[in-house]
């Protein structure tokens, strides 16, 4: 396979059969359309490229900025396409809740603007929602924007009508699957594929999946939010069903661990929704049927999403010399000194004073002569052993004397002969009128 441009590599993604031992359906062959294998990592590459392509020449001529309301994959694809053509890209969103995606977009040179949250005090005079303001800005005279408008642009749907849908039929040797299952975001892929399949065989049943109302699954809308999408038409779907975030993550794990398909939570939601829907009909069948679902992007971008919801999946082995291992008795018995004692001790024996606060707080005000080792770093240092000589006494200080007591207990346990915690911390120091400096 040789290409002249990376955009030529968009589409023609594989259709992979899911092992029946995994999904447990007896009469249905279940296939995953691996849109995650598009060059920029998601199903949105097709739509982004199809929407932007005809406008690029003019945009380059005018030096336009590409803009889109997107919280993820469309933004990613458009940022790359814009960059390839020397154009800037700006994403405006109110739902970019996955930090990795945000960082990746910034890395790709995107500008991100987040829309303000809902007003806490209702303002009945407010006539414009942020989206209306956004559209007004775009249409203001003299502005040079290339707005792909993915929620309304028919070329979004068209990318799947002419690409994704026909590819599925081709890979099934000219047959249309009996079921097509897709998560609904912009509704572009589900609508385009459904239309392509129905043109070949109107008996295909289309299952649309949305997020449970109180849940957040990246890339999927809830049953109310889909109503805000211009491309969404309830007639497209034979049934709409909802999937919870937990179910999406469980489905994702099955794809990741048992099928070798490194799809993200949206793909997991599609898998879970497909199997749940098909299991009910599988029992009744007497002949073989096929179903296809879409894996729309990759798992790597969603680690913090998983960490937040299922920290157990990212469990790490316990660490050595961790302050978390200490008993309450050990912490309670940690050697400590009052502010007055500490001042005398500093004058007489000159202990090493270690300030565990953040560098910003330390820079603002600290005990003269102290060193700053922020607590997180200190915890890491201690894993390797005591980071200073045992012959020199040490005074540990934190804001209120709580963390310093922990570390004093830990260092004592690790064999340091004279480490003490400043009781009441820097706050007690300040309140006692002891000097703090900025140097």
């Amino acid at each position: 396979m040789r290409y002249d441009s990376i955009t030529d590599a968009i589409g023609n993604t594989p259709l992979v059969r899911i092992d029946p031992a995994v999904h447990g359906l007896r009469n249905i062959d279940l296939f995953a359309k691996l849109e995650m294998l598009n060059p920029f990592g998601s199903v949105k590459d097709r739509a982004a490229w199809n929407m932007a392509r005809p406008l690029l020449a003019e945009a380059v001529e005018h030096g336009s900025q590409v803009v889109e309301l997107s919280s993820g994959n469309t933004a990613k694809a458009l940022a790359v396409v814009a960059g390839m053509h020397g154009l800037g890209f700006k994403s405006v969103t109110n739902r970019m809740r996955v930090p990795e995606i945000k960082d990746l977009l910034l890395l790709l040179g995107a500008q991100i603007e987040e829309l303000p949250g809902q007003s806490e005090c209702l303002d009945p005079t407010a006539t414009d929602d942020p989206l209306t303001l956004f559209h007004r800005t775009l249409s203001a005279s003299g502005s040079t924007y290339l707005h792909t408008d993915q929620y309304y642009n028919p070329r979004n749907t068209e990318a799947h009508l002419t690409g994704t849908g026909p590819e599925i039929v081709k890979d099934l040797d000219g047959r249309v699957p009996d079921w097509f299952v897709a998560c609904v975001g912009t509704a572009g892929s589900s609508t385009g594929v459904a239309r392509a399949l129905r043109e070949e065989d109107p008996s295909v049943r289309v299952v649309g999946l949305v997020a449970a109302k109180s849940d957040f699954i990246p890339g999927i809308r809830t049953i109310d939010e889909v109503q805000e999408v211009g491309l969404f038409d309830p007639e497209t779907y034979d049934t709409m069903e909802s999937v919870s975030a937990d179910e999406a993550i469980e489905g994702m794990l099955t794809l990741n661990r048992r099928c070798g398909i490194l799809g993200g939570p949206t793909g997991g939601a599609a898998y879970h929704g497909a199997v749940r829907h098909l299991r009910a009909v599988d029992e009744e069948l007497t002949e073989r049927r096929t179903a296809v679902f879409i894996v729309c992007d990759r798992v790597e971008s969603y680690l913090s999403y998983v960490r937040q919801r299922r920290p157990d999946l990212l469990g790490r082995p316990p660490r050595k010399n961790s302050p978390a291992d200490l008993t309450d008795a050990e912490v309670g018995g940690a050697p400590s000194v009052t502010v007055a004692e500490a001042r005398r001790w500093i004058d007489s024996e000159g202990p090493l004073v270690v300030d565990l606060r953040s560098p910003y707080a330390y820079a603002a005000l600290h005990i003269d002569g102290s060193v700053n080792i922020v607590d997180e770093l200190f915890a890491e240092l201690l894993q390797g052993g005591v980071p200073f000589s045992r012959s020199r006494p040490v005074l540990l200080a934190c804001p209120v004397g709580e963390q310093s007591a922990r570390y004093a207990a830990l260092l004592t346990r690790m064999g340091h002969p004279d480490v003490r915690s400043l009781a009441g911390g820097i706050i007690a120091w300040r309140d006692a009128g002891a000097p703090l400096v900025r140097d």
Binding site: E114, Q118, D129, V229, P359, A361, V374
Partner: protein, 488 residues
């Protein structure tokens, strides 16, 4: 009625639940004092304060919780708070006089909002901390201090327009505060007025439900304090304002089902759920939903003190990713907060008597007229949708099953709807029943009330538990030493 009733049942904590169960007391109260009637529950505000204090304690933070007075005019609530360690945030001369009269000393009062000269003078004279909106106000305050030979006044600088690096968080525009971009000239003014004012910190108040925006502002406030320190000033506090929210509804599922049904109604896919097909900001355009839902998010998993806790746990990207609470503590800053609505959560209810129940010809919703005006029960003005609780009148027999109703007030205005939506009640009300609107103490009692048409404004009483019984007095008569009541 178009399908199953769509209830929006109020969230009731034990005190309000118990008060609503004291039907005899509530009936005799409205018999004596008329309808509508506000009942406030002073002991609850002390309990709410304690919830905020526990968040402070968890993060080892010191600083004051200021009650935002404008949310309710009640003397009882204010006096009950005066008997705690809370502060009060006053936004007018009248509120300042009220707070001083309720027993708040100047060190527990902060003056905010747009100020007239009399308000500023009394604040300066008594030694109240002033949250300064801009350089002009600072000049005005300094001139007052000098002219009347007053002691230097403690000031907080109210800032706005915080910006982030990397991801730009667009913020709702505010009329209040000085944009952080103009901090330097403002600090120069502080230095110029060094004889008349003493800078104690910075403040902000953002009207948003977004934790991310508030975190951005708090991070920006920390940066502003560092700018103060680098000039040799000695600030020691950040005032993060309020806007921590209240969860009005008992069931998340009810809120979700209602808003989904409203969406369907706006798109014409089910019968209207509101008077005249009002969409609360939503509208349908060729099958697509446009606009934005102008309703208070009435069910919240995180509100009040828990919201503050969540805000404090946000990492500050520009300051090494440490949580904001840790940064406040490490920098030795006091945290001030000004919850209004959240401190008044579960602190009161409003009673209105049913005057008339009329069936419509088409068999639609019943028309229920209350002895009240819409502005006496201003939940709707704040976009809060919550069902009233039906309290049977003394002689009334129970009605049959669920009904849909429209609730009207007593003004001869089509707009005098107590709520624009169709309200579902578990049974048909009859004249003489009371409807109790729970949780109205925050902004929904007297923020909008008027005396139009010589219709009386609702009176207000304070109620407290005395063993198993509920006792009450007029709001004005309540002091924390009231026999068997309040803080004793």
């Amino acid at each position: 009625m178009g399908g199953r009733p769509l209830y929006l049942e109020p969230r009731l904590e034990p005190r309000l639940r118990s008060l609503l169960a004291a039907t005899g007391t509530l009936r005799s109260l409205t018999d004596a004092l008329g309808s509508p009637l506000h009942v406030v529950v002073p002991d609850q505000i002390a309990e709410n304060l304690e919830r905020f204090r526990s968040v402070y304690r968890r993060h080892h933070l010191s600083g004051q919780v200021y009650y935002a007075h404008k949310a309710n005019r009640s003397s009882a609530l204010l006096r009950r708070l005066a008997a705690t360690d809370a502060g009060v945030d006053v936004a007018s001369l009248g509120e300042l006089q009220h707070a001083l009269g309720a027993g708040f000393t100047a060190d527990r009062i902060t003056a905010t909002g747009p100020k007239n000269p009399e308000f500023l003078w009394l604040a300066a004279l008594t030694g109240v901390t002033v949250s300064v909106d801009g350089a002009g106000e600072l000049d005005q305050l300094a001139a007052l201090v000098r002219k009347h030979a007053l002691a230097p006044v403690r000031v907080l600088l109210r800032l706005s327009g915080f910006e982030t690096s990397g991801v730009k968080v667009l913020s709702r525009r505010s009329r209040f505060g000085t944009p952080v971009r103009e901090l330097d000239p403002l600090l120069e003014a502080v230095e110029r007025h060094g004889d008349a004012v003493e800078l104690t910190g910075v403040a902000y108040h953002l009207d948003t439900t977004s934790v991310a925006e508030k975190a951005t502002a708090l991070e920006g406030a920390l940066a502003a304090l560092e700018a103060c320190r680098s000039r040799g000033l000695r600030p020691r506090a950040v005032d993060v304002g309020g806007g921590f929210g209240v969860s009005y509804l008992a069931e998340r599922e009810q809120w979700e089902a209602y808003t989904t049904a409203l969406t369907a109604a706006v798109l014409g896919r089910r019968p209207p759920l509101t008077w005249g097909g009002h969409g609360y900001g939503l509208r349908g355009e060729s099958g697509t939903l446009r606009g934005v839902l102008g309703l208070y998010p009435a069910h919240r998993s995180v509100a009040g003190a828990a919201y503050l806790d969540e805000l404090l746990a946000q990492p500050a990207a520009s300051l090494g990713g440490r949580p904001l609470a840790a940064l406040l503590l490490e920098h030795l800053y006091d945290l001030h907060s000004e919850p209004g609505r959240a401190l008044l959560d579960q602190c009161g209810l409003t009673l209105a008597k049913v005057l008339e129940v009329r069936s419509q010809e088409a068999g639609g919703a019943l028309l229920v007229r209350l002895a009240a005006k819409a502005d006496d029960i201003a939940l709707e003005d704040h976009g809060v949708l919550v069902d009233p609780v039906v309290i049977p009148g003394s002689g009334a027999g129970p009605g049959e099953g669920p009904v849909a109703v429209h609730l009207f007030g007593g003004l001869c205005l089509e707009t005098d709807l107590i709520t624009r939506r169709t309200v579902f009640l578990p049974r048909r009300p009859v004249p003489g029943d009371l409807l109790a609107f729970a949780n109205t103490a925050g902004y929904a009692m007297d923020f909008h009330a008027t005396r139009a048409q010589h219709q009386p404004v609702a009176r207000k009483v304070a109620a407290w538990q005395d063993g198993d019984a509920w006792r009450w007095c007029l709001d004005d008569q309540f002091w924390p030493i009231t026999p068997s009541g309040g803080a004793q």
